[in-house]
C-alpha cells in the first residue's frame, strides 16, 4: 500500500512543514488565526507502524515547525503529546473496528474520521495555546484561540484531506 511506504512518509513530512511555515503561518485571518495543517501528518501516519518511530517523527515535525516560527518548542510539546495519545483517541473513535487485521482509516465512516481529526486538532491546540500564553488568568483567551484556530485548522485539513485522499478502488 502506498501510504505505508517510508519514502512517502518522508515526502509528506517535508511538504507539510514547508506548506505550514511558508503559507499557513502567514495567513493571519483576523490578525491571529493561523491554521496548523501539519497535524494531517499524524492523521495520515500508518497505524500498524512502530509506535516509537511515530512518536519520534511527530516530535521532529513539531520541532521543525518551531524552528521556523520562533515559538520555542511548544509545537513539539503539543505534537508529541497527541502522538502519544493517538492510539487512545483511535480506540475512542473507531471502537472494535481497530481489532481487525486489515483495518484502515479509509474503511471507517466519514463521521468517525471527522471526529478523529477533530479530537487530534483540539487536544493539540489546547496544549499549544496553554503553553504559549502560559497563565491561568487568561483561560478565556486560551479557549477563544483554541476554538477559532481549531475550527480554521479543521476546515482546511478537511479540504486538504479530500484533495489528497487515496482513491478507493
Amino acid at each position: 500500500m502506498i501510504s505505508n511506504n517510508a519514502l512517502f512518509i518522508v515526502i509528506r513530512f517535508l511538504l507539510l512543514i514547508i506548506v505550514q511555515v511558508l503559507v499557513f503561518n502567514n495567513l493571519n485571518y483576523f490578525g491571529y488565526i493561523n491554521p496548523m495543517v501539519y497535524l494531517l501528518f499524524l492523521y495520515w501516519y500508518p497505524i500498524n507502524d512502530q509506535r516509537a518511530f511515530f512518536i519520534l517523527w511527530s516530535f521532529l515535525l513539531g520541532l521543525m515547525v518551531d524552528w521556523f516560527s520562533d515559538t520555542m518548542a511548544i509545537h513539539a510539546a503539543a505534537t508529541v503529546t497527541i502522538a502519544y495519545l493517538r492510539p487512545a483517541i483511535m480506540r475512542f473513535c473507531f471502537g472494535s473496528n481497530l481489532e481487525f487485521q486489515n483495518f484502515r482509516i479509509s474503511s471507517t465512516t466519514q463521521a468517525q474520521q471527522i471526529v478523529f481529526l477533530t479530537l487530534l486538532i483540539f487536544i493539540h491546540h489546547l496544549i499549544f495555546f496553554s503553553l504559549e500564553i502560559f497563565s491561568l488568568g487568561n483561560t478565556l483567551l486560551i479557549l477563544k484561540k483554541v476554538l477559532f484556530t481549531g475550527l480554521a485548522t479543521l476546515v482546511i485539513s478537511l479540504l486538504l484531506r479530500t484533495l489528497f485522499s487515496i482513491k478507493k478502488r
Binding site: 509506535r51 516509537a52 518551531d66 524552528w67 516560527s69 520555542m72 502522538a83 503553553l131
Partner: protein, 271 residues
C-alpha cells in the same frame, strides 16, 4: 536487573514520550526566562536560506510600494538637509560618529503570536551584533536578539518581553513601552506620571536613556489614555506609525559608544 529491563521494554513508548516532552518543555521554559536558545531560532543556515529564497520571489510583488516609501523618505531627508541652518562641518569621519547604520530586508515577519520575532537577511559578517536597534523609515521595530553568520533574529516590539524606553516628544517624561498582545497596531506606554498633561494625538518617541536607540526615533501617537486606578501613573495606548504587517526594508543602528556606556554603568553598579 531483569525486572528493570522488562519494565523499560514494557513502557518504552511512555518513557520515550516523557523524555521528548521534557526536552520540549525545558527548551520552552528556558527560552521564556532567558534569551532565546542559541541554535533554536529562525536565524540559522537552514531556515534562513529557505526564508530568503522564498522572499526573493515574493518581494517582487511589493517592489512598487517599497520604492514609493523610499522615495518619500529620501524626499523628507533632502528637505531636512536643504533647510539646515549650517552645512555639516566636514565629511563625517567614521571614527567619530556615534551611530552607524546598516540596511537589511525582512525575510520572515510575524505579528500574531504573544512573542513575535522577525528574521533579517544580514548577520555577523555584515557587522550585526546582539542588542542593536532596528527601525524602518516610519519608526521603531525592535532589537536584535540573535545573529548567525548570514542572518539575524529581531525581537519585535510586538513581544511581551520587549521593554523600550520611550518619552513624549519635546518633553522629559519617560516611560517604558510594552505590548499586551491584544492588537498588533497598538502598544502600551507605562509609568508616565499622572501629573503630566497629555492629549490624544501626542507623539511618542524613543527616550535618551536607552543605549540602543538614538533619541527621538518616532514610535507612534497616543490613541487613548486613562489613569491606572492602582498607581499614580497613566496607562497609555500608542498607535504605531509602522504597519507591522507590511514592513519590508529596515535599518539597523549601531551605537558605537554603547560598550563604553555599559562599562561605565557596570562600574557604578559595583560600588
Amino acid at each position: 536487573m531483569q525486572q528493570i529491563i522488562n519494565f523499560i521494554l514494557k513502557y518504552k513508548n511512555f518513557l520515550l514520550y516523557v523524555f521528548l516532552l521534557t526536552i520540549a518543555l525545558v527548551f520552552t521554559v528556558r527560552a521564556r526566562s532567558y534569551h532565546h536558545s542559541k541554535f533554536f531560532n529562525s536565524a540559522n543556515w537552514l531556515t534562513g536560506n529557505v526564508y530568503e529564497s522564498t522572499h526573493s520571489v515574493s518581494s517582487f510583488f511589493s517592489l512598487g510600494t517599497e520604492n514609493e516609501k523610499l522615495v518619500e523618505e529620501n524626499k523628507w531627508l533632502r528637505q531636512q538637509l536643504y533647510n539646515l541652518e549650517k552645512a555639516p562641518p566636514e565629511p563625517l569621519d567614521s571614527t567619530k560618529i556615534t551611530y552607524s547604520v546598516t540596511a537589511a530586508k525582512i525575510i520572515k515577519n510575524s505579528y500574531s503570536l504573544p512573542r513575535n520575532y522577525i528574521t533579517l537577511d544580514k548577520g555577523r559578517v555584515d557587522g550585526l551584533e546582539i542588542d542593536m536597534g532596528v527601525i524602518t523609515s516610519k519608526g521603531i521595530l525592535g532589537i536584535v536578539e540573535h545573529t548567525s553568520k548570514n542572518f539575524s533574529m529581531v525581537q519585535s516590539i510586538l513581544n511581551v518581553r520587549s521593554r523600550i524606553n520611550a518619552k513624549i516628544l519635546n518633553t522629559n517624561h519617560y516611560g517604558s513601552l510594552v505590548w499586551d498582545t491584544k492588537d498588533y497596531r497598538t502598544v502600551q506606554l507605562k509609568d508616565i506620571e499622572r501629573l503630566v498633561p497629555l492629549k490624544v494625538g501626542d507623539t511618542i518617541v524613543t527616550g535618551a536613556s536607552s543605549s540602543i536607540f538614538p533619541e527621538n526615533i518616532p514610535i507612534g501617537v497616543i490613541a487613548h489614555f486613562e489613569v491606572n486606578p492602582n498607581h499614580s501613573s497613566y496607562q497609555i495606548d500608542v498607535k504605531l506609525f509602522n504597519d507591522m504587517t507590511t514592513v519590508k526594508n529596515v535599518y539597523i543602528i549601531k551605537n558605537n559608544q554603547r560598550e563604553e556606556i555599559i562599562e561605565l554603568e557596570s562600574k557604578v553598579g559595583n560600588d
